[in-house]
């Protein structure tokens, strides 16, 4: 019999090894293949059936805003779903090679998506007023616990595959945060630790704050009526 502390240590080592393995892969993939945006547009026709040609997500939180997201973040999600690090049964068949194709197609499609202009409107949390106590508490929590990786204005870090949070739907972020807590979405242990340490109430406030982080104007589509010309 292995003593409990050893078992736990072995668990940690395995978890660390596994997390390193999938943390490195997206960057490696995006470096090894030369993206072809034309093919990316073609591949995106499969994705667009659900994510729609603009890839703006929905306010109900069923789909995230993909437009404007970092290439390495998008790649990591595709690979995480493929390997089961993200429990996403409805997306799983789409990321299989038989549907979307091999690494080249993945590289091409994420290159295409990252260039799409972002939605001028997205779903936001209940506290828009910067003078409200809830907004300020959300801001303090963000600065203390999130901005170190996700950036002071939620811009994320492409090379480290830290997601850009600006413009992301509040409803979607909330659903994902709960998925991480339930163990359905495996992420960097530091991220899990932050989510586990927040109370429900604190989580709501920090996500509300994030949902009001401004998106640089040049990254936004001219209007909510803009439609992806590649699909007209």
């Amino acid at each position: 019999m292995m003593p409990d502390c050893l078992k736990r240590l072995r668990g940690l080592v395995l978890a660390f090894a596994a997390c390193n393995a999938y943390a490195i892969e997206p960057v490696k993939v995006t470096l090894e293949f030369q993206p072809d945006p034309d093919n990316g547009r073609y591949v995106f026709e499969i994705c667009a059936r659900c994510h729609l040609p603009e890839a703006w997500g929905d306010k109900e939180g069923n789909y995230p805003q993909l437009a404007g997201q970092h290439v390495n973040v998008l790649m990591k999600q595709l690979l995480d779903i493929r390997t089961g690090h993200r429990d996403n049964p409805t997306m799983l068949p789409f990321v299989q090679e038989r549907t979307i194709g091999g690494y080249q197609n993945l590289v091409d499609v994420v290159a295409y998506i990252s260039t799409l202009p972002m939605a001028p409107i997205h779903s936001q949390g209940p506290w828009p007023d910067p003078d409200s106590a809830e907004y300020r508490q959300g801001m303090r929590l963000y600065q203390a616990k999130c901005s170190g990786c996700h950036g002071a204005s939620g811009e994320g870090v492409d090379a480290a595959h830290y997601p850009r949070l600006q413009g992301q739907h509040f409803s979607y972020m909330k659903r994902q945060a709960l998925s991480v807590r339930e163990g359905l979405r495996k992420v960097d242990p530091a991220m899990t630790a932050v989510l586990d340490a927040l109370s429900d109430d604190e989580l709501e406030k920090v996500l509300s704050y994030i949902s009001y982080l401004p998106v640089p104007r040049e990254d936004l589509a001219p209007s909510a009526e803009w439609r992806n010309p590649d699909f007209q």
């Binding site: 073609y42 026709e45 499969i46 667009a48 059936r49 659900c50 729609l52 040609p53 929905d58 109900e60 939180g61 069923n62 049964p89 409805t90 997306m91 799983l92 068949p93 789409f94 299989q96 549907t99 409803s171 339930e182 699909f231």
Partner: protein, 453 residues
Amino acid sequence: MTDHDDISRRRFLQLSGATLAAAAGAPGAAAATQTKTAVGDAPPGFARLLREASLPWTSGARVVVVGGGWSGLTIAKYLKRHNPAFDVLLIDKHPSFVSFPLSNSWLADQIQLDFLSHSFFDAALNHDYHFVQATVLDVDRATRKVYTDIGFVAYDYLVLAPGIDYDYARIGVGDAEQQALLFQRYPGGFVSASELLTIKHKIRSFRGGTFLLNVPNGDYRCTAAPYERACMVAAVFKKRRVRARILLLDMNTGIKIEKNGFHRAFDELYKDYIEYLPSSEISGIDLDGKRVSTEFDEYAFDDAILYPPIRASRLIDEIGIANPQSPQKAANTDPFRYHVVGDEHVYVTGDSRGQPFSKGGHTAHSEGRYVAEVIAGHALGKDVAWRSPQTMCFSSVEIDPLQAMSIITYYKYNTQTKLFDFDRTHMIETWDVQGGQASLAWAEGMYRDLFYR
């Protein structure tokens, strides 16, 4: 109408009460009289109807979900996810699940039957709830009991997702015997698996002549499906070089969804096969003469698939919770919380729902995820904000390889008219291989979500 309507809720309870009394050998003139008048020669086996069904039982609040379609399966799974303490029981009268979404692609040999068929056992095992095959006969909301053919089941919450029934009276066939014959000879293919198998056999063995299809009116199940089916049947005839004319009688004034896309498919792909006739309200069928009549015309056919207008499952009306104003006898429920008006322990979802949302698998799945949250929230005294269900639908028009169009839409509540309107409709009316592939991946993802881990 059929004899279903005659077995009112009260009569069933009376009948079973008397049976119990008789079975228990209860003395007394009243019991004896009732046994004679209400039960007649009821076999002793009826006594089991009044016993409690023997089922696995856990300690938490019990949620009984009636109907293992897209709605019931989704709710059973997500109830357990949102509140693992719930004792969730799924009841369906069928032994296994067959998917109606994507069934048109199966009719055209683009997928195998096992792509569409799944086991309720897998669903229950993988998502930690119980499944039992039983037919629901009645519900007593006062004592919170569901009566089934294997005994009664007590509930804390009841979700009714029993789907639809055909309403043959609305195409001029009111006689119950004629309805039964019509159903068996020319099934519509939207309620049970046997209908689909029969339809496939009809298509496969058709030697030529007129093959009749129709589009019902009202809020029927899967708006695009009858048009898609016409394309899939035409594709098979074209591939096999069958000299056939598909007569598509639309009871509506025009194509109801993806209008440009379907017109283009009829013209470009199936010009020699599909004859599309809008505003063709079917008013009668001569079964032996194989003729169907509309207001102004009469059409002869060699074989047919007849999809009559539909209504909410008869169960809804039989247990007294249908909305008297609803032409399709849908449930009288709260439009946002889904519970029966005045009873927060009984919910109606899926195609028997009171709201006029598009009837289809994706809508039921999207709605079911929300309703599971509502019920889990109710148990904890927590409110869940309303969100629109999402309707998504793939329409295949070409085969080898499969090619499809698609549509996504949402709903918003109009506070002035107090009705739901469509909101944010997105259509991709060009068909391509990516659309076909996406339709297969979509279905596979849904089956994964509902049945597997």
